[in-house]
């Protein structure tokens, strides 16, 4: 994959299988999500056979949000994951007392944020439009940072990881859920057929446009494998990075701790 460390005019980065100037990736990704915002949740169900719900439940259980914590749900889109965090934190608060947890849904895409609030309400969450590479939070201000199916759309991934490390407190937790590499060759070949042949067609039928889904499957294929990504997280400063594979490695959760 193309690493982008500076933003000179000639530098390019991957946009699916295409190479585009670094400065253009963010707006191209935004176009993709503008087109799919209203159908986002149903398309996730179809593409993953409903499994994305289990993966998100697993992240929420592992994170185990506590009363009084500040949790950043980056690339939180329609708030799917944040609503799970809220439920767990509220239940713990009901049993044990304490302050409510603050769960902040952040996404670079305004359409996704507005679609989430309109379709399912604010849900006691805080919502804002934010770029993962320049977070509007102070150093050491958050207890947890989660990014679910979002990191591969970020232009400068190392920069976003360093920002996550910066805003997390000592002892803070980091979780990333993302498409990864199947560990089995047969599964990989089946998965390639499903993603390259079927998903863009289904996207075309449900959301009315194949193009955004073509981008999604290409960006998944370009994303680094489990161990390469683990190294990137460590390079940003995180400690004790762990990997949990789901569905044979089609999706992986990376978890890490902040020790400052």
């Amino acid at each position: 994959m193309t690493k982008t460390t500076s933003q000179s005019a000639n530098e390019t980065t991957s946009f699916g299988f295409q190479e585009v100037p670094v400065a253009e990736k963010a707006s191209k990704v935004r176009d993709v999500f503008d087109k799919v915002a209203s159908k986002y949740d149903i398309m996730n169900d179809i593409m993953s056979f409903g499994l994305h719900r289990q993966w998100k439940d697993a992240v929420a259980a592992r994170l185990n949000p506590r009363p009084g914590e500040t949790i950043i749900d980056m690339a939180g889109g329609t708030g799917d994951l944040a609503r799970r965090f809220k439920k767990i934190a509220d239940r713990a608060q009901y049993r044990n007392g304490g302050d409510p947890a603050r769960i902040i849904v952040c996404d670079i895409n305004e359409e996704m944020i507005m679609a989430g609030r309109a379709q399912r309400g604010e849900g006691g969450l805080e919502w804002m439009v934010v770029d993962a590479e320049t977070l509007p939070f102070e150093d050491n201000s958050a207890d947890a940072y989660v990014i679910s199916f979002g990191i591969r759309n970020v232009t400068n991934i190392p920069k976003a990881l360093r920002e996550a490390f910066r805003v997390l407190k000592n002892g803070g937790r980091f979780y990333c859920l993302e498409f990864s590499k199947p560990t089995d060759d047969f599964l990989q070949s089946m998965y390639d057929v499903w993603s390259f042949k079927a998903i863009p067609k289904i996207g075309g039928m449900i959301a009315g446009d194949e193009q955004p889904y073509q981008y999604l499957v290409e960006s998944i294929a370009k994303f680094p494998d489990q161990l390469t990504f683990k190294k990137m997280i460590e390079d940003a400063g995180f400690s004790r990075v762990g990997i949990t594979n789901f569905a044979g490695g089609i999706v992986a959760m990376h978890g890490a701790w902040v020790i400052k």
């Binding site: 902040i104 305004e110 804002m128």
Partner: protein
Amino acid sequence: MSEIDPKLLEVLVCPLNRTRLIYNKERQELISKSARLAYPIRDGVPIMLENEARELEADEKY
């Protein structure tokens, strides 16, 4: 039009230089004096992106 949650303002800083922001209720903007930018708040949602922010006029009061 929903109001911004006052608690949200406590955690926010300017994404460019991480200084405190001033809330302009009438214009629904968050102002970064040091970056000379006003970040819009739309329907109670702060839009913390540089390319969506308005540059402050030279003599602008806030």
